[in-house]
């Protein structure tokens, strides 16, 4: 293992994982969802809103607000503020920014929150206004959301590495099994591999159960130093390592790997753990094929061995490779930017031992990853974090 030259996250911890149960559609605003998450954070941590002196917000639908508007909206007086528009990579980026802020005493308690509403036309409006390249060169081609773009990536990846739909389907099917134990998951019926394979095509080779369901929801957690957590009597998880990368491998004509492949060595080096040491893994599953790519890029197997890896492992809560234990976005729902937080917040509950029905016994080391912003032909942002429970 290589050595990391970065300054370690000494005594930076995460606490108070909050999930506001998702709804398929909501007539409320994003601010309503974010406000509920902030309220739940304060209640769960047993602190006052005035104790929060740092705020980091992500949302696709809170326009025209950014973080600053929310301070006045929610009566927060903070000395550190960030708004992170990185889609599926927002949670990892928020954690990274917040961790360094508390480490440097720029803030003591940072609330990281993501929330989105989902009106009947929210998703279409988000698509239309996603990014300039998307507006100029993708959306006019009838892309059904990101489906067509990911269909091209998935088709190419599957052809290049001989991956079948059945291989990819194992991921979706395992996550549905996990979701059946999560009362907050929007998908409540079992999914068999036969159902997965016979689902209706959306944009070949993407079929219905490869797609996430847009919904409303919010997720949040607190970042602080361990002495702050101790003084509050808060159970907290230690942050060991993170990585973040944007626009990696621009020279690849099509995306077959994400930025993780560039930084995974550094991720494990800083954490001082190996992939084998991890008890749970929460990948960013906007499409299961992207999860398979992460298994490779995050070092659980070699490039091109993702299909074999999912054949050899049981990805359910009770399996030998517990993965996306809440059911992931594929089965819980994709609440906009909160989708970026879903795995991280669930991972935090796991290592704190508070995951309830989805709890993996003895989960101590967790990895959560993020992926986002299909600006043109590929997802640009990637990130990952490794953290450990309080007993370690």
């Amino acid at each position: 293992m290589k050595n990391s030259l970065r300054i370690p996250y000494d005594r930076v911890v995460m606490a108070a994982p909050v999930t506001i149960p998702y709804a398929r559609y909501s007539i409320e605003s994003a601010q309503w969802w974010i406000g509920r998450a902030l309220g739940a954070l304060v209640a769960q941590a047993g602190i006052k809103a005035s104790d929060i002196d740092g705020l980091c917000v992500s949302s696709f639908t809170m326009g025209p607000d950014s973080g600053i508007g929310l301070t006045q909206h929610f009566g927060l007086c903070v000395r550190w503020l960030d708004t992170i528009p990185l889609g599926g990579a927002s949670a990892i980026a928020a954690l990274r920014r917040a961790a360094r802020a508390v480490q440097a005493h720029d803030a003591d308690i940072v609330a990281c929150v993501a929330g989105d509403t989902n009106h009947v036309d929210s998703f279409r409006l988000t698509l239309e206004n996603f990014s300039r390249f998307n507006q100029d060169a993708v959306y006019p081609y009838g892309a059904g959301g990101a489906n067509s773009s990911f269909a091209l990536i998935a088709g190419n990846y599957m052809r290049t590495y001989g991956v079948t739909r059945e291989d990819v389907g194992r991921i979706a099917v395992a996550q549905r099994a996990n979701a059946l134990r999560n009362p907050n998951a929007l998908m409540k019926t079992p999914l068999t591999i036969e159902q997965y394979l016979s689902a209706r095509p959306i944009s070949d080779p993407i079929h219905l159960f490869d797609c996430v369901m847009p919904c409303a929801g919010a997720e949040a957690f607190l970042v602080m130093r361990d002495e702050t957590a101790a003084s509050l009597g808060l159970p907290a998880a230690r942050l060991l390592s993170t990585i973040e990368r944007h626009n990696a491998f621009a020279e690849d004509p099509m995306q077959v790997r994400g930025g993780w492949a560039m930084d995974a060595g550094e991720l494990y080096a800083m954490a001082g753990v190996n992939p084998d040491d991890l008890d749970i893994v929460q990948t960013y599953d906007d499409y299961p094929v992207i999860t398979m790519m992460q298994f490779e890029d995050l070092g659980f197997c070699k490039k091109g061995e993702g299909a074999e890896f999912v054949r050899q492992h049981d990805l359910t809560i009770d399996g030998d490779f517990p993965h996306n234990t809440s059911g992931g976005q594929l089965s819980v729902g994709q609440a906009g930017a909160a989708g970026a937080y879903l795995g991280l917040v669930e991972g935090l509950r796991q290592v704190l031992g508070t995951a309830g029905p989805t709890q993996v016994k003895g989960a101590s080391f967790a990895l959560a990853s993020g992926f986002g912003m299909i600006n043109y032909d590929r997802g640009l942002a990637s990130g990952a974090a490794i953290f450990a429970g309080p007993s370690l």
């Binding site: 279409r124 390249f133 507006q135 100029d136 060169a137 006019p140 091209l152 944009s203 099509m254």
Partner: protein, 413 residues
């Protein structure tokens, strides 16, 4: 091989006509470099003046060296289809009505990768030939076709959405007395138009070429005096719902500028025929054409104007005529905007002096009426919005782009 399209059946008048919808229109300002390319049938990409890198989508600085000298230049059209997908449930209404719809990612030989609409015969891993086309929203989109010609190539469903091919369509040519009008009738018939209606003012008055016109199958002479509002309205009441392509061949050429003419009577005639005639035609036929933009295989698709290239820069020897043409050019842009919701293209053909009696004293080169007719068909088949016909028109275009002041001075000779 794709199946040829079949002649459309008679329309059932009891059924509702499907209304046109548009694919997404918003674009960045820079991206309209592709709109310009598509309008003229060119394939242009941005190329860095410092390092030579081609890039796509439209950028404000070079992704290779950050130079801001990114000019749109004609680029090699060849690429390879890396991956394709068939969209089956798009969120956009336009595409939802047209599923399945294929798109793909093309790696250009010159560097960038381009998301493109696909001709049905583009295959993964195979070379493709790229173009920018104007879609039903009037905006530029990249389109990939197979490298060579394939049978029934122009009948491809997605390609036909981008073009205004005369095949199986019904066309109104507004002036059958002119040589351009007569040549246009022949060329459009050869191109597969089902019916060509030919407008003739005062049809009892014989005219040269009449016999040939009347002898062609699928050609119907109809009474039309474009300068007469009622005449245009009457004809529209009769055939307005059957005009898929309108070719405005109105022609009224008189020499002279301002000071050597007395009074306004000739100018009034020029305006009556060319400008007010355009308005009469637009008001009579435009609304129905806009309504029928998605009306099946023979939906309404295009309005063609034959304009003098001197609509762009006055030629004092024909100065009043130039002005009437400039008025028509301006009006064509208004019409283009108003027909856009229907997905109906407005095609402007710019010609130099045509080889007809009204340009008798003008030295060559002059444009043969047949060349104009062939240009009409070519512009329709390729879905163009602007075309310069003949050497004079092309030269004026280039000189205007190079230095409009020089052109102005030099046309005064």
């Amino acid at each position: 091989m794709i199946d040829p399209i079949r002649p459309p059946k008679r329309k059932n008048p009891l059924l509702r006509t499907r209304l046109p919808t548009s694919p997404p229109k918003p674009r960045s300002r820079k991206s309209h470099g592709f709109t310009r390319a598509a309008a003229e049938g060119r394939f242009m990409l941005q190329c860095c003046e410092s390092c030579g890198t081609f890039c796509y989508p439209a950028r404000e600085a070079c992704p290779s060296c950050l130079s801001f000298g990114l000019a749109f230049v004609d680029a090699p059209r060849r690429g390879t289809l890396l991956a394709e997908t068939t969209g089956r449930v798009p969120s956009d209404v336009y595409f939802r009505e047209r599923t399945p719809w294929r798109v793909g990612l093309v790696k250009m030989d010159c560097g960038p990768t381009v998301v493109a609409h696909l001709h049905a015969e583009c295959a993964e891993g195979a070379p493709v030939r790229m173009s920018f086309q104007l879609d039903k929203g009037g905006q530029a989109v990249a389109f990939a076709r197979p490298e060579g010609e394939t049978p029934n190539m122009a009948d491809d469903k997605q390609w036909r959405e981008m073009t205004a091919d005369p095949k199986f369509r019904r066309v109104l040519v507004t002036n059958g007395r002119s040589m351009i009008g007569q040549e246009a009738v022949t060329a459009l018939k050869v191109a597969g138009a089902k019916t060509v209606f030919v407008g003739v003012a005062e049809p009892w008055r014989p005219f040269a070429g009449e016999k040939l016109l009347r002898g062609q199958d699928g050609v119907e002479i109809v009474p039309l005096d474009v300068a007469d509002e009622k005449s245009a309205a009457d004809l529209a009441a009769d055939i307005g719902g059957k005009v898929d392509i309108l070719v405005n061949t109105t022609e009224y050429v008189r020499s002279g500028g301002l000071l050597d003419r007395k009074g306004t009577s000739i100018a009034r005639d020029e305006i009556d025929q060319a400008y007010l005639g355009f308005i009469n035609l637009a008001q009579a036929f435009g609304p129905a054409m806009r309504m029928r933009g998605a009306d099946g295989i023979n939906n309404s698709v295009a309005w063609v104007n034959i304009l003098s290239v001197y609509s762009l820069a006055s030629w004092p020897a024909f100065g009043a005529y130039s002005a009437s043409q400039a008025a028509c050019l301006s009006l064509s842009h208004c019409l283009r905007a108003e027909l856009r919701p229907g997905g109906v293209k407005v095609v402007n053909l710019f010609t130099g002096p045509v080889d007809t009696e009204w340009f008798q004293t003008v030295p060559p080169p002059k444009v043969a009426p047949r060349a104009v007719a062939q240009a009409i068909v070519s512009a329709l088949r390729n879905g163009l919005e602007e075309m310069y016909v003949g050497d004079v028109a092309e030269e004026i275009r280039q000189r205007l782009a190079a230095n409009p002041k020089a052109l102005e001075r030099e046309l005064d000779r």
